[in-house]
Every structure is written in C-alpha cells, then in structure tokens.
C-alpha cells in the first residue's frame, strides 16, 4: 500500500482534501509523531495533507486582551525561543527545554502536538492548566475548544475530519502562576511517565483558585477537580488530603514508561511538589 502526499496552499484547499470518510486521510504538519506510527506500521495512511505551506498559521503575538495567539504551525523551537512566551507564560518556556530534543523541537508544531491526542505529551496538560483554547476552522463554521475539552480519549479528539486547529490562545495569566513537573523513566527529555501541571491564583499567598491537571499517567489529560475543591477550601493545609484524593480519583494507565502503581506513587510526590513550588515562590 502506498499513499499520496498533497501540499495545499490554502486552508480551503486543505479542508477539501480532508473532507472524506476515509479515516486514513490525515493532516500532517511537523509529522514527528505520525512518522513514528507510520514507520512502525501502526498507521498506514492513504493520503497525507501537508499543512506546512499554508500561510497565516505561523507566529506568536500578544493580543489586545493580553492573551497570546500562537499559530498552529509554530514549531516547538520557536515557542521555546519566544520572548513573548517567556514573558507571559514562562512555564511553557521552561517545559520545552526538556520536551524531546532540539531536532524534534525544530520540526514538531504546537497544533499537531495537540491534534494528535497522544496522552504521553507535556503540552496538553500544561496548556489545559493555563486555561488555553484552540481556535478551529473547518469546511463549516469555526469554533473554539478549550484544550481540556479537545482531547476526549486515548488518541481521540473532538475535532472533525474536515477541521483544523489554526491557532492556540493562552489567556492572560494576570495573578495566576504555574508549574509543570514531569517525571521520566529514561532520559530527562523522554516522554513523561507522569506530568503534573498546576496553575494557582495565589494572591495574598492564599490559594484563591486553581487548576490541577495530570497527564501521561492517564489515557487523557485529567483535571483533578476533587483535589482542587479541597485546596480551594482548606488552602495549603489541605495539600496532603488533596494529594490523597488525586491518587484515589484518577484511573492510572500502565505503559512502557511505568506501572499504574508506580505512577500513582509519582503523582503523590509530584503534585505536592508542583503546588509547593508555586507557594514557595511567594514566600
């Protein structure tokens, strides 16, 4: 079996090429993840729709409302080197330094990293904790989807076959602060065995509001709502109880990076450290 490689030059042309019932037709941006699936025979495409030549999907800019607009074709290396990202979402800059290696970051794109729906990624839980959303266009009307609602399951997203992520929007973080902790079983830049993203609104050094998201240990990035509730009510004194609640509420997944039991133990440690890391910054 072979496949065709098509390189549309406009979004409209891309939607036309993607608008089919054939599940083996795929959009292709950086392709670093899809290539692994194709080389191992897990995925055999009939058509790759290469998005790289489509104008208007690149770049990073600060919007009037203080949010960051990041074009879907922005490479992870561009994100890593962006002064705007370092200033308005420093946790992203920090996380990217250990997200795979330089060559992969030179090629992989933020839109593809989210659309792939791979649970073993750093950006989906992190962007979810930052309350980011994706701007989606398609043959029909465009829409916005929160990153948390984008991934619906194991390699499953709420995107239709004729829809594409055109940009990611990170809202102004104002008094919110974030941390991302990743634990790897092999090298530091490996896929995470567990990733924990925490965003806290901790003005006056008391937790006003927060978002806790765990990734990689679960089949999709998972909000720890019960733990959030405990910390909202009890503040930092509830940290131990919140950690216990997280361990009890999450369905952990065994994979090549570790057993579910081990990941459960990791969550206890890393969730506490991530929250503590932010609180310690303010003392």
């Amino acid at each position: 079996m072979t496949y065709e490689i098509l390189k549309p030059e406009t979004l409209q042309d891309a939607f036309g090429l993607l608008d089919t019932d054939d599940p083996m037709v795929r959009p292709f941006s950086g392709g670093t993840a899809l290539m692994l699936m194709m080389k191992s025979g897990i995925f055999s495409p009939s058509r790759l729709v290469v998005l790289r030549d489509i104008p208007g999907l690149n770049g990073i800019r600060l919007e009037e409302d203080g949010s960051l607009w990041i074009g879907a074709l922005t490479t992870l290396a561009e994100l890593e080197k962006s002064d705007l990202v370092a200033q308005h979402a420093p946790v992203v800059t920090h996380a990217l330094r250990h997200l795979s290696n330089r060559r992969v970051r030179n090629v992989a794109r933020i839109g593809g990293a989210l659309a792939h729906g791979d649970p073993h990624m750093d950006l989906p839980p992190l962007l979810s904790a930052l309350n980011a959303e994706v701007i989606v266009e398609g043959s029909n009307q465009g829409r916005r989807i929160s990153v948390q609602d984008l991934v619906t399951g194991y390699y499953e997203t709420s995107l239709e076959s004729n829809e594409l992520i055109v940009a990611v929007r990170i809202p102004s973080q104002q008094s919110w602060q974030s941390a991302y902790r990743k634990f790897t079983a092999r090298s530091a830049d490996d896929w995470p065995a567990l990733g924990v993203a925490v965003s806290l609104n901790a003005s006056r050094n008391e937790i006003q509001d927060l978002r806790l998201v765990v990734g990689a240990a679960t089949e999709r990035p998972t909000r720890l709502e019960q733990s959030e509730g405990i910390l909202r009510q009890e503040g930092r004194s509830g940290l131990e109880r919140a950690t216990e609640a997280a361990m009890a509420s999450v369905e952990f997944m065994d994979d090549a990076h570790g057993s579910s039991q081990w990941k459960k133990a990791l969550l206890r440690v890393e969730l506490r450290r991530a929250v503590q890391e932010i609180l310690d910054r303010n003392t």
Binding site: T2, G31, M35, L36, N101, R103, V104, V107, D189
Partner: protein
C-alpha cells in the same frame, strides 16, 4: 510504488532525484550515495541521522523526502567541500572524540549548530545542546573536549586578519 521527481539543493548543488512517498531523507541520501546520515534508533532520539534543512538541524529518519523539494539539504559530506576538514571535524580528530564513529557525523553537525548559536558554550550548555545525541561508545568527555577545542579555534580564526 509511484516515484516522483523532486529537485533540491544538496550541500549547495542542485540535484534531481526520484523519491517514493515512503522515503525519508536518510533513504533519499543513501540513494544518492551519501552515507554520513545513518538511521540508528529510527525514532529521532539518537541523532545519528542529523541533517540540516534550510540551515536547521532535523532528524533525517523522521522527515519525508518529498518535503525537501526546493529546499537546502546539508549533510556531513558538505563540511569539507573545499578539501579541508571543518574546524569542528578537525577538533573531533584532535580530541579523539569517537571510537566506532557511527554517531560522529550527527554530533559534528550538532556542534556546528551549537557554535553558530553560541561561540563560547560552557560544558553544561554543550551537554544540554547535545543531549539528544547518543554515543554508545560513551566518548562524551572527549566530545565535550572537542567542543571546547573547536570553540577556541573558531574564535582565534575570527581574530586573525583576513
């Protein structure tokens, strides 16, 4: 399998080649008798297949050959184009920065990139930059020596009057 003709620049020279949709850059280079970029892990983790696309390092094993059309592809074979080894190549020899040599072309291309971005990397900065390249002979201390040697040599060459 249907093959398509593409044109691109290989180490600065225009080239026409026939590629099938499944070919990676490593496949394409082997068909053109360029064996410096080697597929080892096949997953973009080890850096043995490092090449430069429009001046940026990529894993040749993860890039489709068809997508190089119209672009510049630079490989280790282009570094001594004038018949003289590059400063980084010579530094690897002087520092003894390899045993089997399988990973060397990838490391050298990455060190060229590192020194283009940062002319005086600290050992930690060099370790961080090269963390995506693996040397199973574990010549890492000598590779770091080679980075230092090459950095010093490049700076001294810049100071010399033309």
């Amino acid at each position: 399998m249907t093959k398509r003709s593409i044109t691109f620049y290989l180490n600065g020279r225009p080239v026409e080649a026939y590629v099938s949709p499944k070919d990676t850059l490593v496949d394409l280079l082997r068909n053109l008798d360029h064996f410096g970029a080697r597929e080892s892990c096949g997953q973009g983790l080890c850096g043995c297949c490092t090449v430069l696309v429009n001046g940026t390092s990529v894993s040749g094993c993860l890039e489709l050959a068809e997508l190089i059309e119209g672009k510049n592809l630079d490989t280790i074979e282009g570094l001594d184009a004038g018949g003289e080894l590059s400063v980084v190549q010579q530094a690897f020899i002087d520092a003894g920065a390899f045993q089997c040599g399988f990973c060397t072309s990838g490391f050298i291309l990455m060190v060229e990139q590192l020194l283009d971005e940062n002319d005086s990397p600290t050992p930690d900065e060099a370790r961080d930059y090269l963390s995506g390249n693996l040397c199973r002979c574990a010549a890492y201390p000598e590779i770091l020596d080679a980075v230092q040697l090459a950095a010093d040599k490049r700076k001294s060459l810049q100071k010399e009057p033309a």
